[in-house]
């Protein structure tokens, strides 16, 4: 995938002036000079370059990394394409994202992996396709994992559905654990969308007070938690690594916390909507609030926030899921689940999580980069010689969310009209500014 870099023309050096650098090594006031894909110099005394980006009052950080986006290509280009998704990502401060495989056709073979890789060439965010665990995401036969790993795939998931059959999941974990020789010793990650279909079937929101009142079918928290529990057991059985996607319940967070304390190799992500919104939002039957896993209760929101604060949860991942207005205007039962997330994730984290910026960036940059196996290029320290994938964040800027203003052709943001704090000012991919002052450049 690094071949893509060569396709990006070089336009001389850029200095990011007047900001505060925050990375995994700490925080310091410094100008940052980049060029030819790399960081050239970091100097508190000031630097000059061919072009200057103002960063006064801003945080200069490694670019954000999103473990979980739906780019809808191939198959639903009316909802999103790799190109529009990459624009949204850049506007949201992301320099890398993992594309989920529930496209049409699914990313489950070499041809579709290559297609997504080709589509992302020259886009303003690095796109790493994940691949399905099972062919067609049907939960039965394993995809050709070794072949796909050789193409660069590092994350496998049937996202959109969980692997229901424990025996299939065990096989996948054991097989993936034997692919280290293809990856330079790094573990391939199996990521699970935790949902036991028998319990969630017929549900379109969280099962509880609101679903009962609204007459909508519910998905109990236990539908998620049973699979978290099962996969923790399978991680133990197979001595393998499992990543839990978009955890949404207090019980899930508690189980992952206990599993980590027990020394198991589990990691987990949470989505911004699960630390921001609750099932009460569904009271208007507006399907923009329909998402899987569903919006939960205040107590679950509090647990997700606590899990992000105490390190139980390793990453904030958007689960960016564009859908056309026509699809979202279907009845609540029938409308597809999912919401836009790329352009609001950082601001929601800054607005809603009372975390120091260093912690927050760990959750959105270097920790997800490590989980995804892209930490040779993303989430790197801002230091000479390192890849210059950076974002410049104004943590105090306030702005009002507007779906039509977003890069996606879809409009399904649940935060329409909400005032948020914290905005991405500039994003640099391989030292090229792809977003300048909030305007996308490609």
């Amino acid at each position: 995938m690094s071949a893509r870099l060569a396709a990006v023309p070089s336009h001389g050096t850029v200095v990011i002036r007047g900001g505060t650098v925050v990375d995994s090594t700490g925080t310091r006031r410094a100008d940052v000079l980049v060029g030819d894909g790399r960081v050239i110099a970091v100097d508190p005394a000031g630097l000059d370059g061919d072009r200057t980006l103002d960063a006064s009052g801003c945080v200069v950080a490694p670019g954000l990394v999103d473990l979980h986006v739906h780019l809808r290509q191939p198959g639903r280009e009316d909802a999103e394409t790799v190109e529009t998704g990459a624009r949204g990502a850049a506007l949201g401060g992301f320099t890398a994202m993992i594309a989920m495989p529930n496209t049409d056709p699914a990313i489950d073979c070499a041809a579709v992996v290559r297609e997504v890789q080709d589509l992302s060439a020259g886009s303003c965010c690095d796109v790493y396709p994940s691949a399905a665990i099972t062919v067609g995401r049907r939960g039965v036969d394993l995809v050709p994992m070794a072949e796909l790993v050789r193409l660069g795939v590092r994350i496998f998931t049937d996202d959109g559905a969980g692997v229901q059959d424990a025996r299939v999941m065990r096989r996948a974990l054991e097989y993936a654990a034997g692919l280290d020789h293809l990856t330079g010793g790094r573990r391939v990650v199996l990521a699970q969308h935790c949902e036991v279909d028998e319990l969630s079937r017929g549900g379109s929101m969280h099962e509880g007070e609101w679903s009962s009142r609204l007459g909508l079918g519910g998905q109990p928290a236990e539908a998620e938690e049973l699979m978290v529990m099962r996969d923790i057991a399978l991680a133990r059985l197979t001595a393998s690594r499992v990543h839990f996607q978009h955890l949404s319940t207090a019980g899930s967070v508690a189980m992952v916390r206990a599993a980590k304390e027990a020394g198991l190799a589990v990691t987990a992500e949470a989505a911004p909507h699960h630390f921001t919104l609750t099932d009460a939002c569904c009271a208007t039957y507006d399907t923009v609030f329909k998402v899987h896993p569903p919006l939960r209760t205040d107590a679950d929101v509090a647990s997700v926030r606590a899990g992000l604060a105490d390190g139980t949860l390793d990453a904030i991942a958007t689960d960016h899921a564009p859908h056309t207005s026509a699809d979202k205007e279907r009845p609540f039962d029938a409308a597809p689940p999912g919401m836009l997330g790329l352009e609001t994730a950082l601001a929601l984290a800054l607005t809603n999580l009372e975390l120091p910026i260093e912690r927050l960036l760990a959750l959105m940059s270097w920790q997800p980069a490590a989980i995804a196996g892209v930490d040779d290029r993303h989430g790197r320290p801002v230091a000479p010689g390192e890849p210059a994938n950076l974002c410049v964040i104004d943590p105090e800027a306030t702005w009002t969310v507007s779906g039509v203003a977003m890069a996606s052709p879809s409009r399904n943001t649940p935060y329409e009209g909400m005032e948020l704090r914290g905005r991405v000012r500039h994003t640099l991919l391989a030292s090229e500014p792809v977003v300048i002052d909030g305007e996308v450049q490609r």
Partner: protein, 320 residues
């Protein structure tokens, strides 16, 4: 609903307070009188157009609304989903906006999914009446239930109502719980756990699994249709066991207080939630519920669309 003429929609009993409900019930009384006339027709809604948009099969509710609209002299259009563009994949939003473009005053919506009437109300300017949305609400059914019960019991303050059977799948139950409690009645839900909503937080009800324990205390025994099409049958070991534990058979009906009403929204599964001979007893007011449905729906249409003026006999029709 202080200024009732300004209310645009009837989507949920939850939107109505006791004075609203009483106003509708009083108006229903007036319209019940209209229905008794030699020519049961008033010109109150002449020139108004009401559309039926039923995405789910309905016989009694639609006929009842149609009769109500006709007695008010409204023009009606039946948008039959089976033969329409909906079958060609048209979205609800496109359908209702197309219908509205033709110039209509109200749209009566039934849909198998909860919330569709609420969404329709967001999308169009015409009045929207919820004729049943999924497992959510069926407000006009609750209004006719209140009217029927009030007619027999005088008032509903302190009345004890048992709602029995398939609560979880029932839009009637949700509307009736809100309606009866708003009118001062005490509601007990009688059902096995799988036929109750997963959470009853905020519901002003008591719950029992022991039907026999409440029989002697209640003023209204309201039986719900076991919604076998919504897999209610899979929630109990067998319909035979359900009837034994929760069905109103003769031995149970004999234990009801004198004057206690037996109600059912129809259509009945005779021999499941109610035995055939029990449904035909004098204190079973099931047919009366249906009859009152017309007057209730006249009241609702009139409140939403009427000028508030003309309840006089329609002489043009009388002369014709």
């Amino acid at each position: 609903m202080a200024a009732t003429s300004q209310r645009r929609h009837v989507l949920s009993i939850a939107d109505l307070d006791r004075p609203d409900l009483e106003r509708i019930l009083d108006l229903t009384g007036s319209f019940a009188e209209v229905s008794q006339r030699r020519i049961p027709r008033v010109p109150a809604l002449r020139g108004k157009t009401v559309v039926w948009l039923f995405y789910e099969d309905s016989t009694r509710t639609r006929l009842s609304f149609e009769a109500a609209a006709k007695q008010l002299s409204a023009d009606t259009v039946n948008f039959s989903v089976g033969s329409s563009a909906v079958n060609k994949g048209e979205s609800v939003r496109d359908t209702v906006q197309t219908i509205e473009a033709m110039g209509i005053d109200a749209i009566v919506v039934r849909h198998s999914c909860a919330g569709v009437p609420h969404r329709v109300a967001d999308w169009i300017d015409a009045s929207v009446i919820n004729a049943g949305d999924g497992r959510h609400e069926h407000p006009t059914q609750a209004l006719l239930d209140l009217y029927t019960a009030r007619t027999h019991l005088g008032g509903l303050d302190g009345a004890r109502v048992a709602i029995v059977g398939d609560i979880v799948n029932s839009r009637v139950a949700r509307s009736d719980v809100l309606a009866f409690t708003a009118m001062g009645a005490e509601v007990t839900l009688v059902a096995p756990r799988p036929l109750l909503p997963s959470s009853l937080e905020g519901w002003p009800v008591t719950v029992t699994h022991d039907f026999d324990s409440v029989l002697g205390d209640i003023d209204i025994c309201y039986l719900l249709r076991m919604q076998l099409e919504r897999e209610a049958g899979a929630s109990v070991p067998s319909l035979r066991e359900f009837r034994a534990e929760y069905g109103l058979h003769a031995a149970r009906a004999d234990r009801l207080k004198d004057g206690a009403l037996i109600m059912h929204p129809g259509p009945m599964n005779r021999g499941v939630e109610i035995d055939g001979d029990v449904a035909d007893r004098p204190n079973a007011v099931i047919a009366e519920q249906v009859a009152n449905g017309v007057a209730v729906r006249m009241a609702v249409l009139f409140l939403l669309l009427g000028s508030g003026l003309d309840l006089a006999e329609d002489h043009t029709v009388a002369a014709a």
